[in-house]
């Protein structure tokens, strides 16, 4: 059985790169990606001639260059008989790039595949940007006209969760404090100055009960992964990260199920997680760390519960008790997560993979999880209506 592995990584720190169109000097995405590809390939010690597939996360509409994957094949002079394509799936976009690059390895079409993504949006104001995003997270005729926005769904998760389980505002807010403490140790993170619980609770409300520090910041970013076959990884003599299990599930509903259900039980994460654990032959208790795609504090709590990292209804209390901190029972989002590492949306899942690859190759420096052997990545779209979960293993 063929298996895929991560052998090289590269990413730029998340921050504002995109400049207003009126500025004389602009940031050009393909220059950024070209540098990252070369850097990731050097990290993997792989020759250019070995690359046979490119899977790229579809860039934001604010990226001028269209058909980005085929353009990059040209820009880097990279003929391929595996696939050259872009993926799209809301927040899951870059996770699908990783997943499809792995597929090229599993299908035997490539021994080496590139997965990369660039997200540029900071020249556009939030209010302007949201004009477009209301179209993505609800029925444009039956939801968007009422003013539902992407994070309003997560806020309603939070209200329901607090109502059902008696979780407190402070417990949810503790997730943001924890993520900032992790980000302080991550040079790729956008927001690194430590924050206190009182500061999180004192922020202006964005979507009640969530305030500014509990919703995702916006940012630009880019990352590249070199995905190889297990045999090629072994032959490299380098530490690598094996994709040991994978699971996907779409619950057949988007944002809301018209048949009333338990909305805060993230069934997609639960099912994709189970499939990934089964494929890997492990259980959640075997994990050393997890990187969760969680735009808001509440999402980290609910995804963590669905993936078996905390019992149902106890995820917020577990976070407040320090169980998900570095040094805790199961460190979650050692990168700083979406709330502090940053959320360059269409590249975000690749940043999660970069963090796991750093941790599982023992390169995470001050935020290293000691003897990290098994890590989990979970990505989502909608209100976690679909989840894509990978179990990664350290091979040294």
């Amino acid at each position: 059985m063929r298996r895929a592995a991560i052998l090289g990584t590269a990413a730029v720190p998340v921050r504002k790169y995109q400049r207003k169109a009126s500025e004389p000097i602009q940031t050009v995405e393909h220059e950024m990606i070209a540098r990252l590809v070369v850097e990731a390939m050097q990290d993997a010690q792989v020759e250019k001639s070995e690359v046979n597939a490119i899977v790229c996360a579809h860039p934001r509409p604010y990226t001028k260059q269209k058909y980005f994957s085929t353009f990059m094949a040209h820009y880097l002079r990279l003929p391929c008989s595996g696939v050259v394509m872009e993926t799209m799936g809301n927040g899951m976009t870059a996770a699908l790039a990783f997943d499809k690059a792995c597929d090229e390895i599993l299908l035997g079409r490539a021994e080496v595949a590139l997965a990369f993504g660039v997200n540029m949006e900071m020249s556009v104001t939030s209010a302007e940007h949201m004009k477009d995003s209301v179209r993505a997270t609800g029925d444009v005729d039956f939801h968007s006209p009422s003013g539902l926005i992407p994070i309003s769904w997560y806020a309603m998760d939070a209200v329901r969760y607090m109502h059902e389980y008696g979780a407190t505002r402070a417990q949810l807010a503790s997730v943001a404090v924890k993520n900032r403490a992790h980000a302080a140790l991550n040079p790729l993170a956008q927001y690194r100055a430590p924050i206190t619980l009182d500061e999180v609770l004192a922020q202006r409300p964005i979507v009640e009960p969530l305030g500014l520090y509990e919703v995702p910041p916006r940012g630009d970013g880019a990352a590249c992964l070199v995905i190889v076959s297990e045999a090629r990884a072994k032959a490299s003599g380098l530490p690598y990260v094996l994709v040991r299990g994978r699971g996907f599930f779409h619950e057949g509903a988007h944002q809301i199920s018209e048949v009333p259900n338990d909305m805060i039980r993230f069934v997609a994460a639960e099912t994709a997680g189970r499939l990934a654990y089964e494929a890997a032959g492990i259980g959640p208790g075997d994990l050393d760390l997890a990187e969760l795609y969680a735009p808001c504090t509440i999402v980290e709590v609910l995804a963590g519960e669905a993936l078996g990292l905390a019992p149902r209804g106890q995820g917020a209390a577990a976070a407040a008790a320090g169980e998900t901190r570095l040094g805790g029972r199961i460190p979650i989002s050692t990168s700083g997560g979406l709330t502090s590492r940053g959320h360059p949306s269409y590249a975000t899942p690749l940043y999660g993979m970069v963090e796991l690859a750093e941790q599982l190759r023992g390169r995470a420096g001050a935020r290293q999880v000691e003897d990290a052997e098994l890590g989990l990545s979970s990505n989502e779209l909608g209100n976690y209506n679909a989840a894509l979960v990978h179990v990664l293993e350290a091979r040294r």
Binding site: S126, A127, E128, M130, K131, S133, V134, G138, D139, V140, D141, F142, H143, S144, P145, S146, G147, L148, I149, S152, A155, M156, D157, A158, V159, R160, H163, E164, R204, P205, I206, V207, E208, P209, Q255, I256, S257, E258, V259, P260, N261, M263
Partner: protein, 144 residues
């Protein structure tokens, strides 16, 4: 049909910030809504209700559906107050949205209309109302 309540119609003196489209198929929904009646489609084969109304049954994929009136009563499953919104909603900020479970067994997400002095909370009983904008109606919910 007897026993179905008509919805209160509340005039709003402006146009909708993000108007929905009407298709030939959804036109009966919007026309009924403007008249204060809530209706959606029910599958002619398996009897399941849909919302939004759909020309095929999403459950059994049967292609024949019938318009059926709905009692505009239910409970608030969850809600939020939006303080930072898209450009087109800027003049309305902050505003409330919520998820309502109708007694008929359908879940809807819609705008909430605040009642002064009463805060929203999950499981509160609500009634649906029609917001009558200058350019057309929108469905919303109020605490009972």
């Amino acid at each position: 049909m007897s026993g179905i309540e008509e919805m209160e119609r509340i005039d709003v003196d402006r146009v909708r910030s993000y108007p929905p489209r009407t298709s030939e198929f959804t036109q009966p929904f919007w026309e009924a809504l403007a008249a204060g009646r809530l209706q959606t489609t029910r599958c002619a084969a398996c009897g399941a209700l849909s919302f939004p109304p759909k020309p095929v049954c999403p459950h059994c994929w049967h292609g024949e559906v019938r318009w059926t009136p709905l009692q505009p009563l239910g409970r608030l499953y969850s809600w939020t107050r939006v303080h930072a919104g898209p450009e087109m909603f800027a003049a309305e900020l902050p505003y409330e949205v919520g998820i309502v479970d109708l007694d008929a067994g359908l879940r809807l997400a819609l705008r909430l209309v605040a009642v002064p002095g009463r805060e929203f909370a999950p499981d509160m009983p609500v009634r649906l109302v029609v917001l009558r904008f200058r350019d057309g109606p929108l469905l919303a919910a109020m605490l009972r």
